[in-house]
Symmetry: C2
Subunit: 207 residues, 2 copies
DNA sequence: TCGTGGATTTACCAAATGGTAAAATTTTAT
DNA sequence: ATAAAATTTTACCATTTGGTAAATCCACGA
């Protein structure tokens, strides 16, 4: 009997929890936490509302589960940034990985964006405990490269912000991008080229 | 008797409509359209719920009014980009105006971001009719500068996306920025310098 | 000062919301 | 096959939601 189950989950449990989380990702990423309803999640999951509450303790539990799972995926591209690799390559590859992730997981990107937009009320602690240490660590790596003259002098913190902003923009603001580029245009190719050329210029910059 | 009033508004009307819109901006920008409640808006405005519905036809009317008013303000910095000015100066000044606006009007930035994040269900038409023509026009200006060799070769559409993304990031993701930079650090000065140096590098780029 | 129309409050309402209890059904191990 | 456990459904419930009707209050010009 699930909810706060300790034993290993049955096949049904595993399947239904996945189905519910997938449905919840659709709804939460589209309407935000307060705008999402259990009925909508239930309907999208093809289950009854009480059935959903059999697998999760409540609305907040579902949301929190999604955010926790997402955090790992989300930090992954930054984790892979290798202090011993070639600086230029490492950063450009990081940009590419972030862009790929935004385009492959737009719902996740929007869920994250929505939570931050609302002041991270349910994710503040995760930011402090998971994101900040990694961020600080990688900032030092980039600062080291910068100091050693391997890349242009640059503020590492704001560089990372710029990478996040420009890549996630294509997921979070997809509705706007689509209108402005035309529904037929696929932004991926051009976006990828633009970002590569842009961050190349920044890392080369001599002033 | 207001609501869809035709005659010129009284002092009380003007004041209360402003108070309501300000309160609504707080609530909508923090919780999104569906997550916002009339009770909350009323409470924040210091008025009763029926009193609010005396001035606006309903929740959607308030939201729509906010978005319409916002659109003008939001396009303004781009309107000011002068085709006859010095390209480098014009673009860097545009970046600066966008950053200033994000830091001075964070609620407006978040309201806008939230609406786009949710697929622009109530603003799609405005994007097509107001934003797109201006966007296309300014893209051609930049493309002209690029073709004339006055700035580096660059994709104008994605350049503008990058400007929007990097500047609005400081308003929309303020919760994250605050955690990562430390609550005591004021991001404005460093962000401004970073963005100026970054976009300078891009516009100078020879490849 | 008094009437009139604008402004506000009180008292509601139907629908939707997150959630629960318990009965009914299905799965699983024996 | 059958009992026990896991799963799902049915029938609710209290609260909140957007919104309305009507009574009341109040400002202000004649």
């Amino acid at each position: 009997m699930p909810d706060g189950d300790q034993k290993k989950p049955s096949r049904i449990q595993t399947r239904n929890r996945l189905v519910i989380l997938d449905a919840a990702l659709n709804v939460f990423s589209q309407h935000g936490y307060r705008g999402a309803t259990l009925d909508q999640i239930a309907s999208e999951a093809g289950l009854s509302k009480p059935n959903i509450l059999y697998y999760f303790q409540g609305k907040e539990d579902i949301h929190l589960t999604l955010l926790s799972q997402l955090m790992e995926t989300w930090l992954d591209p930054l984790v892979e940034l290798d202090p011993d690799g070639d600086p230029q390559t490492e950063i450009l590859d990081y940009v590419q990985r972030k862009l790929d992730m935004a385009l492959e997981l737009p719902r996740e990107s929007r869920l994250f964006a929505g939570e931050i937009l609302q002041g991270a009320p349910r994710m503040g602690p995760h930011l402090e405990s998971d994101l900040k240490p990694l961020f600080d660590q990688k900032c030092e790596v980039i600062a080291g490269w910068s100091a050693a003259g391997k890349i242009a002098p640059i503020n590492p913190q704001h560089l990372i912000f710029s990478i996040w902003a420009t890549t996630q923009h294509y997921a979070d603001f997809a509705a706007q991008v689509t209108v402005l580029l035309g529904a037929d245009t696929d932004p991926y190719q051009t976006a990828s080229e633009h970002l590569r050329s842009m961050f190349t210029a920044i890392l080369r910059n001599k002033a």
